[in-house]
Symmetry: C2
Subunit: 198 residues, 2 copies
């Protein structure tokens, strides 16, 4: 009975992670009833993000500026680089404020099953960043999955010969676990106890 | 570390019912990564709703047209009118497709505690609709709370003398329960067994 516009909004919201059809309906009702305090701010925020959204050409982060806020931050230690599979992992690690360096987003992990090859990931760009010099340590912060670890070993091969220390997150990360789902305490422990890639 | 635009979007989303800060962050990440399939559709849907959003001058529903889709639907029985506290209640009852008539949204319920008086609700408009004639039955579908029932009795007084049958939802509605939270089965039972206001 709702209008096509309201139905479309309900559907768009229900596709967000964590929102089913029922909670999407409640969210829409909230937006319709609180036009000034809910709908307007959300619309303006979405439009602003949409207008400025870019992928950082340096690290692969998505942000509203290029270089992104992380790459542009002069307080960050340019000598330490943390390589992650996904933007979600960058955000999770960055939120923990435990890693003082910069990041590199691969855009996935190698997967024979899903046909993801090295050239599908941002690996050449990573090697170029390392080859450019000024980096002492590269933390290979892949997920503790088989594919994540395969990717880490592939990267270790590709980065061999460069004068950088390769480390990986300590095995505080549960086996099979995805970084993005971990609490900050676990992330902190894993990061503090990071060790050379064996 | 996220940009002000992304922070604003996260905050706007985290204020929606059912979305906390954590799920809002996940939703934002999803939107940033799925620009074409998630961000664009949501932005377009929100803008379309925002552009057309109106309160129905007849019944108080919020919709993208005035009269709203319910009031404009010629298949609906104009002789039966269901009075609800809130737009959320209208939607819940309408979704159940069990009530074939039209609706009237009061915009709240009488409350000494919160200082809500009859003139703060859409009661004069309700009386005017009934006075205009053509209505046989008015279902007073207030919440089964003390304030809801007080409101129902006040409405019954105001509608006395008009040739309409006043009914209320059967006591399938749990005491203290809010209509909007009920499953359709309970709503169906309560509506089917509705009885004259005693
Ligand atoms: Zn960057
Ligand atoms: Zn209407």
């Amino acid at each position: 009975m709702a209008s096509p516009e309201i139905d479309a909004l309900t559907q768009a919201l229900s596709r967000l992670p964590g929102l089913g059809p029922r909670s999407a309906r409640r969210a829409v009702l909230h937006l319709l009833r609180k036009r000034e305090t809910a709908l307007d701010p959300l619309l303006r925020a979405l439009a602003a993000v949409n207008e400025r959204l870019v992928t950082c050409a340096t690290c692969g982060n998505v942000d509203t500026s290029d270089p992104c806020g992380v790459c542009a931050d002069p307080r960050r230690d340019a000598r330490a680089l943390c390589v992650v599979e996904d933007v979600a992992d960058l955000w999770a690690l960055d939120r923990s404020r435990l890693f003082p360096g910069r990041f590199h987003v691969l855009g996935g992990r190698l997967s024979a099953l899903e046909g993801v090859r090295p050239e599908d990931l941002s690996i050449d760009l990573l090697v170029a960043r390392v080859a450019a010099g000024g980096i002492d340590e590269v933390v290979l912060a892949m997920n503790a999955t088989l594919e994540g670890q395969t990717t880490a070993h592939y990267l270790a091969d590709r980065l061999e010969g460069y004068p950088v220390r390769l480390t990986q997150l300590a095995h505080g990360v549960p086996v099979g676990g995805e970084l993005d789902y971990l609490d900050e305490g676990t992330l902190a422990q894993a990061l503090r106890a990071r060790r050379p890639l064996g």
